[in-house]
Symmetry: C2
Subunit: 427 residues, 2 copies
């Protein structure tokens, strides 16, 4: 199955960006075209020194290649024709004026003296936003290539064989629970591009009713499944960052996201992402109309069971039947958790799953050997500054918090953040 990779760039199309980059991108282009941001890479996997493991020349080559890419006519046709989340969801100003001319900005790459990698993207939000998932895909693939070099040819074969058997086992177990649905959210965490495309093709053929689609817009286009995505923390983070940060302005920024999103996409994409400054804070901001209109929530940090109960009771308090609403789990899922959560909430609220790392990067045995971690990485690229101001994300798991300590502390106070849950993100 492996298509040749060594002499091919990892990213061959800007469409490999996650679908939510486009849904957010359209709003950013229309509403906040002048905001200047910096996105930065963080490796949350302890002990991994990317600057020592990766071939930095190759990394530059891959990133440089992305900067040569532009959207083709057919790719713009595909986006124009995308109607699964609402007809003509992308308008001509965005497609023809913005995307058609889009080229990625330069990046800032440096190996620090401790072996860590500093990778930052600074420039207009409306163009820099697209770097996130592309750059993450590249780093993951180069990391895995570095590990693969330590294996014999046969050991590499066996690694892929192991991946296939694990995929088969997932499929076998999912077939036992036909009520479970899920999407591939693992573009940024994938073992490699070839592997993700392989997985998407297999799932489309083997689990057509349960596999809903993929976050990789290009893979969706190639395999004919639905491009999937909701929205990301960067919207509330940046919109909060660029205004005066008072309790009411944070609240206003979050409201702005909810209102603008609904106005543009309506019911089709109406999935709240509530955890940027703590989910309970977000829920407190919503009114009954929001809860009635929107399809549901994405749960991306904290304890899913607690979140599920909180959301169900929020719906019930205002007389909404939770069985008609949806929660999308997307925080470090694996097949066991997916089945557990399905059993727990089946018949109480609709659920689906945005499945990342353990779907698209489940080949290694997760072992540490000679200072190398043979396993998936926990990498993120998040906005850290906007219009010169430091940005903050709290989330429902303090290990996932982003921002300078003083900024984080101020934001916790502003949002009345009470959560004390912490869980390490190994991958």
């Amino acid at each position: 199955m492996q298509r040749p990779v060594r002499d091919m760039p990892i990213i061959r199309s800007l469409m490999e960006a996650d679908f939510y980059k486009f849904t957010m991108g359209q709003l950013i282009h229309r509403l906040w075209p002048d905001v200047m941001v910096t996105f930065a890479l963080t490796c949350r996997t302890k002990g991994v020194k990317l600057g020592r493991v990766l071939d930095i020349g190759q990394l530059r080559e891959e990133l440089d290649h992305c900067r040569t890419l532009s959207f083709s006519n057919s790719e713009l046709h595909y986006l124009r024709g995308t109607n699964e989340h609402g007809d003509r969801m992308f308008d001509e100003p965005y497609l023809a004026e913005h995307l058609r001319g889009l080229r990625l900005n330069d990046y800032d790459l440096e190996v620090l003296s401790d072996g860590d990698l500093r990778l930052e993207f600074s420039g207009p939000w409306k163009t820099d936003s697209y770097w996130e998932t592309l750059a993450l895909s590249i780093i993951n693939e180069l990391y895995n290539r570095a590990l693969l070099k330590n294996l014999s040819r046969f050991e590499r074969d066996v690694l892929y064989a192991q991946g296939r058997l694990r995929l088969m086992e997932k499929i076998r177990r999912l077939r036992q629970h036909p009520g479970i649905t899920f999407s591939d959210f693992g573009t940024r965490r994938r073992f490699s591009g070839d592997w993700q495309y392989y997985i998407d093709e297999v799932l489309a053929a083997e689990l057509p009713g349960q596999y809903l689609g993929t976050s990789n817009t290009h893979a969706a286009m190639e395999t004919g499944v639905v491009p999937m995505g909701t929205s990301a923390h960067e919207l509330p983070m940046i919109l909060t960052g660029i205004i005066n940060q008072t309790a009411s302005s944070v609240r206003l920024a979050q409201r702005d996201v909810v209102n603008q999103w609904w106005q543009r996409y309506g019911h089709g994409l109406s999935i709240f992402l509530p955890d940027t400054y703590g989910s309970s804070y977000f829920l407190g901001m919503l009114d009954e109309t929001d809860l009635k209109r929107w399809k549901g929530f994405r749960q991306d940090s904290g304890v899913p069971e607690e979140f599920g109960e909180m959301v169900i009771s929020a719906y019930e308090q205002v007389g909404i039947d939770p069985k008609k609403k949806l929660v999308v789990w997307s925080d470090g899922l694996d097949i066991d958790r997916i089945i557990e959560l399905h059993k727990k909430f089946d018949g109480r609220i609709k659920t689906s799953n945005g499945w990342g790392t353990s779907l698209t990067n489940d080949l290694w045995d997760k072992t540490r050997c000679n200072d190398l971690w043979y396993g998936p990485l926990s990498l993120v690229i998040k906005p850290v500054r906007a219009n010169g101001k430091g940005l903050v994300k709290l989330s429902d798991n303090l290990e996932k918090a982003i921002g300078q300590p003083t900024d984080v502390a101020r934001m916790k106070e502003l949002c009345g953040y009470m959560n004390t849950y912490r869980e390490t993100c190994t991958y």
Copy 2:
């Protein structure tokens, strides 16, 4: 890894014949060029109706293709240059006169009313002998292709993945016993040609000290390992068949094989194959000089532990140190048996292994489903008539006996065959 197969014939070179076809072939060509034989296919796997499972048109096409093949100059060079079992083991009359002009004779193929397949090769022994392993390889591969058609594309991937992991597990366990050596004797039983070449390449890279070579002459040529083989039952079967079958003439035929083999190949290929008419009968025929000269025995039926003890005491009775002699196990081995036998005889007699089915055809889960057997087959192509007379093989396992019941009974009497061991050959 898979090379394209569908548009390629299964057998692409006559060199894919097992190496022992050439070592025997040289003697047959020189000594018994006028003997006429019939080889016939037997499927020992119960309940499998090859005539219903195989695509008979495809089978004819593959067999017909073999008849178009001839030895190339480079292939004859390779045989001429083969010196691992003795320099210039193949002489010019055989290479230049016989092999250079060799074309395979026609075959006789018919689907019987009960769904069984009748496949026979009748003609001069000196040419028909080469059909055996080629035809078996073809039937096995076509059988597996028929089964693969019932699998989805992903299920096929998983099947190969399973095969790789099982191979890895064998390699892992063999590394724990560096004293174990073995050869691939699985050409005739292979899942497919591609799979056998893959296995041979992997073993050459991963177990260079323990993997000695392969019975597939072409694979040996391609991968650079030693072509391996001893001799087959067809020699004593046919030589016994064509003479008057009295006790002394059977004995003479067996002696003739031993003498002629030693005269041509000397120490290099001196491995007795004793079980054609029962190993104890064969041992009774050997004298001290044979035991001293020859390297050892191949054990191909019966109970290996009993055989090993019998051979050790035979050596000890004539004052030969068994530690300098060799037994090659080749009867339905798997990794457990290989390790068991190694532990049992290590330090008492040298051993090696001729590993067939479970090395080159270990992908299926061995299940019966909708009248189909998903697993390796127990197929043999054996000589059944020579110069018009019915042939017999008894072996040390009566389930492996070949011949008309009256012929078998007469031969048992002639050879004083006392064995009562029976074990079904599923594969």
